[in-house]
Symmetry: C2
Subunit: 700 residues, 2 copies
């Protein structure tokens, strides 16, 4: 500040930072000198509009200031031009153009902050603060002359130091940026914008002002690969999309893919190639959908279970297929789109969230980052069901994780009528307790099968099978109706009362869909039955899931959890009450059991938008206690107990408060009968129970 | 050290480090704890033999110790096995196997030091200390178990921390290393060797012990690409080779290549491709020649003039073709072999030395690193002649650099009989002062043309033209014979005295080779004349070179230099005396004018073997004062003066002491006659002068 120059008091909200600046200082310069978080890409040339501020009008006794927009220089031609091109609200000024000529209180609106709070609407993301991993900086580079014969890159470094206060000399510059620098300088009249990744690497250069940096957050599921395309500056999600994982042709579930890699030379490489192709299509498709230039995508984040994670990186997944299930790496991986052979610009970087253990992957880390159990007092059970269930339990004090070998039954595999969740699959089922007649909903239609127009609404998809949530619901409904006993036997005595229970060799089955020619020219539908084997497969799966959760509860020394979050596609479809009735997860207040949506993908999105979040999840994952179910004798005990429906011994006060469960069967191979929570009164209240459940399920 | 354990005094030479260690400590462990530079790759398992030491026998009053090999544990089976496999001298022990049981003085021979002094024999490299850029570390990685479910990479990091004291967690690991880790662990029984580049990046992994890391130092000349393959641990040069620069087909000299890039779409890309192909062949050829595995090459260093440098990096060289000759980057470039599409292992790194200015490239930086004028008190003039001469002048106080537009005449271009230095080219010439008959030597033969057997010795190559050094010598000889006047005119009056001086239009020419059918079935040889135009072209070139050097002397305020180093192929071939006679460089003591060999390539080799040297040359280059000849009016004045032979006004006491120069011509377009160093007496001593010169040149 020049000695003798008039000084003006400037106060910024919401930060409360204040100080005196020389008369004539711009708001942007004042913000910088006071350490106020005010964005800018163009470096104060009135072009990018990122530094918009709101001068406050009036007296502010709390701040000891009388402020007025009149204390700033009047809006000039640059702001008029900006308004004409991109619009500038009446109460807004460009911080780089408004000079301070009197004491003033200036509000920095959230969208003008680099570290702005994101409040999401479309995508169900918790609020978090953006901490951009990539930032754009426009600079004017000195033109070379015969007198200053240094390199253009050295002059770019100097400009970054002088205009932005960066340590230009310490930046690492990608070779492709060095290659592109002179043409960009030429085209931009020696103004260029550079992208700086992680404060260290110059990864892109454009002529002139370039104020768009995009990123894509990807969740590689074994069935579906889902992505969000977001603006890295404001966190806006510009497009979301999903594509099938083309690895499905090598095996529906994870273990069959590992087998493929084990049995076929080059099989892993082939799966790596196809998943990368799919990632490429997804990313370019997202850009088309959002009508943006894919060349502006500078950052990718990826989550996935360990096998998807390894295959995406080109690492042989075979060691993950057998004990001790050793990951090649469990740390976060920072690499480049080029290393993954993705069709993005040369400088694009890729971040894979850390994995937790051999079967608890970066998807679980993403779910933890999205749901933040590590910040809460209450005890959260976070479950992501796949071929292996990834189970996380804990709160701010401790966090434990395990995987449980559920097998692929919840994904519809190994089930006679099963299929994965896709149009045509039965996803919800209700069974009339009196007639045992079913009604159901099919993915792709929003009508129940007993509603008019159902046939028409399924003409395109047909009825093709039953997906995981449909199987869980039909089993829970049959259990409530008494057709399936607590030990999991389909009670053949019902065959005499209803044609829906049919003999199936030496056991019985429930006829969910008769099948037959299509109605109204619709496609023919198959005969779909739930067989005794199907029931056993689901029992095994749910017992594994339940036992894993119980094991973590043992390690934590608790008998109950405060909330249950069901992540992933299956977790989103499943009815929480049916999940509790069947005993998939330990008892919890029904209103505290719910879907977490695609928590893994949400975590990838948060990591895309925040370097701080990356450091956070890396720290959290390091302190997660990893429990290996395979070596815990108690897991086997819990597993055996959990074969019963809902389970043999565990307390279920919340479920009992909501529904009255059928009396336990005195027979059964694995489930020894035990008194229910309210003892012998169960049988007498059976009808009442059904009504309660019917009411509860109908509400949903 | 355990409390109460007996302590032994150990002293290491040559470092003089001393300390007390617990009885039973190995020499290697003692060295580590005392900070003694003792090498090891296998981490103390008696395998690699890098930690060999020599226990001293006798009394050492200076050190206050009586030492004997008997104070060490006796040699055991590991040392016997090592001796059997690789040989172990009788006075040597493996430091990791010799336990200290008494006071002992241990010598660490140079070859067991990581930072060992290199004394070169084959390649003319100054002595320097190796500071390996890549180091190998063998470790035993804990096997994964179900109880320890972390990633293998995390366990590798832990092993590097525990066994080697590295900050394993901070290492950046290449993705291809993560990919290769599990197979390497498997194959090596959980022992692997990793390569760590620059103390930061893990760039390679091998199963078990791997103790070979190689590197290649490359000088990309516009004509020839030369490389040295060296062992990174001991600096041994295992092979040296050169290949033609295939860019020659796009233009013989630098400027014609820039023109090619300017005039042809994709021309620069094409030249990048072919030079990279040539680099690839050179490197694989070097490996074959040395009978080593090219996969062990982990490091490349590259020098070259700015246009070669930019084309190798894939940067458009067109901006270097016109003012202000702006480099894309002048800093050192650290990149990967993959970025340069070289057929090396994925982790191989590439380092390009910094460039100095638009026409003073990484080759000049290499030459500076090799010749180290910045360490000397005496004033060195270092000249590398190419299409542009790169000129460096200075000492430990100041260093200046410039380039001078000599054009390609010294490389044989624009000369009627000129060609580049290749088999068949006349490279040395002597002319009889009386008869004016020439005798010469041809590249590929070691006989003079007047010796018996000359015809046979050139049968394969023939006589194809005259290269730069040959042209300089014939001109200097003709000048001494008085045929060429100080202003550069071929004196037609000699035509009456000898058939060697012939009319050539309105000027005269000197007939160097009559041409005609080959002798003894050899190939026919062409008629080769030195024309007046040829003389003018060389005058222009040498004037530019001389003027550039004079300009730097002006800037430094000196009238003489202490030594002149002529780098590059031309600089190696040229006779220093002829160079002084013709006035290529300022006067200096004849014994202090000499070739620097391929100083640029030597600099690349030093940078290959020493990270410290890289930091050193980067620092030196930053403080080099860059002089742009094009904007210095004095350059033009010096240039005009230097058209005369040897020059018009500059003092030449050293040359005058050695030879007596012909009297200056009173006529001449650019060279005004001026008195010689000893004034009018020159003419009278002419015969005497010739004799002196003849004696001087015959000695060489």
């Amino acid at each position: 500040m020049t000695a003798g120059a008039a000084e003006r008091l400037v106060i910024f909200t919401p930060s409360g930072r204040r100080g005196r600046v020389a008369d004539g200082t711009t708001v942007l310069d004042a913000a910088r000198s006071l350490g106020v978080d005010l964005d800018s890409v163009c470096g104060g040339r009135g072009l990018c509009g990122r530094c918009q501020v709101r001068p406050a009008e009036g007296e502010f006794p709390k701040h000891g200031i009388t402020s007025t927009g009149g204390h700033l220089s009047p809006a000039g031609p640059d702001e008029a031009e900006y308004d004409r091109l991109r619009g500038l609200a009446a109460d807004r000024r460009l911080g780089c153009r408004a000079a301070i000529h009197g004491d003033v209180l200036v509000d920095v609106p959230p969208e003008s902050q680099v570290h702005r709070q994101v409040v999401r609407k479309g995508v169900p993301v918790r609020d978090f603060v953006i901490d951009p991993v990539v930032r754009l900086f426009e600079v004017e580079v000195e033109r070379p002359t015969l007198e200053t014969p240094g390199g253009d890159l050295a002059r770019l470094r100097a400009a970054l130091t002088n205009e932005w206060g960066l340590d230009g000399g310490a930046l690492e510059v990608d070779l492709h940026v060095i290659r592109a620098l002179q043409p960009a300088l030429e085209a931009g009249g020696y103004r260029v914008t550079v992208a700086i990744h992680d404060g260290r690497h110059v990864t892109a250069v454009w002529p002139g002002l370039h104020d768009r940096a995009l990123g894509v957050a990807i969740d590689i599921g074994s069935t579906t690969i889902a992505g969000h395309l977001a603006d890295l500056a404001d966190g806006a999600v510009l497009a979301s999309d999903g594509v099938m994982n083309p690895q499905i042709r090598f095996g529906e579930d994870l273990m069959s893919r590992v087998s493929y890699a084990m049995l076929h030379d080059g099989g892993a490489t082939e799966m790596t190639r196809v998943v990368r192709d799919a990632l490429g299509s997804l990313v370019t498709g997202l850009a088309q959908r959002a009508e943006v230039d894919a060349a502006d995508i500078l950052e990718l984040t990826i989550v996935g279970n360990p096998i998807m994670h390894h295959l995406a990186l080109g690492i042989d997944p075979v060691p993950l297929g057998s004990a001790p299930f050793a990951l090649a790496t469990d740390g976060a991986v920072r690499t480049t789109a080029r290393d993954l052979e993705l069709p993005l610009r040369a400088g694009a970087r890729v971040y894979l969230l850390p994995c937790i253990a051999g079967h608890v992957g970066a998807d679980a880390a993403g779910a933890i980052l999205a749901e933040t159990p590590y910040l809460a007092d209450e005890l959260t059970l976070l479950v992501d069901v796949g071929t292996n269930a990834e189970i996380v339990l804990g709160n701010r004090d401790r966090l434990l994780a395990a995987s449980s070998p559920t097998g692929p039954a919840f994904e519809g595999a190994q089930i006679s009528c099963g299929q994965r969740a896709a149009p045509g699959a039965i996803e919800r089922v209700r069974i009339d307790r009196a007639t045992l007649e079913p009604r159901f909903k099919v993915i792709g239609s929003n009508r129940w099968s007993d509603e008019t127009g159902f046939a028409a609404s399924t003409r395109r998809t047909g009825i093709t099978g039953v997906c995981g949530s449909g199987i869980v619901e039909v089993m829970a409904e049959l259990f409530l109706a008494g057709v399936i006993t607590p030990d999991g036997t389909i009670d053949g005595s019902f065959a005499a009362r209803t044609p829906r229970v049919v003999a199936d060799g030496r056991t019985f089955a429930y006829l969910l869909n008769e099948g037959g020619p299509g109605i109204d020219d619709g496609p023919a539908s198959p005969r779909l039955t739930i067989t005794q084997n199907d029931v056993r497969a689901i029992q095994l799966a749910k017992a594994a899931l339940y036992a894993g959760a119980r094991l973590l509860m043992d390690h934590l020394g608790v008998e109950a959890v405060d909330q249950v979050k069901l992540a992933g596609a299956f977790g989103s479809q499943i009815d929480p009450l049916h999940a509790l009735i069947l005993g998939l997860v330990p008892d919890a207040p029904l209103e505290k059991v719910g879907p977490a949506g695609n928590a893994a993908g949400t975590g990838a999105l948060i990591a895309l938008l925040s370097g701080e979040a990356r450091r956070e999840i890396e720290g959290v994952v390091r302190r997660v206690e990893k429990i290996e179910t395979a070596i815990e004798p108690r897991f086997q005990e819990h597993f055996v107990d959990a074969m019963a429906i809902p389970h043999r011994t565990a307390p279920s006060p919340h479920l009992a408060a909501r529904v009255e469960l059928p009396r336990r069967s005195p027979a059964g191979q694995s489930a020894t009968p035990a008194p229910g929570p309210d003892g012998g009164s169960q049988h007498g209240r059976r009808v009442n129970t059904r009504r309660t459940v019917a009411a509860a399920t109908e509400q949903r």
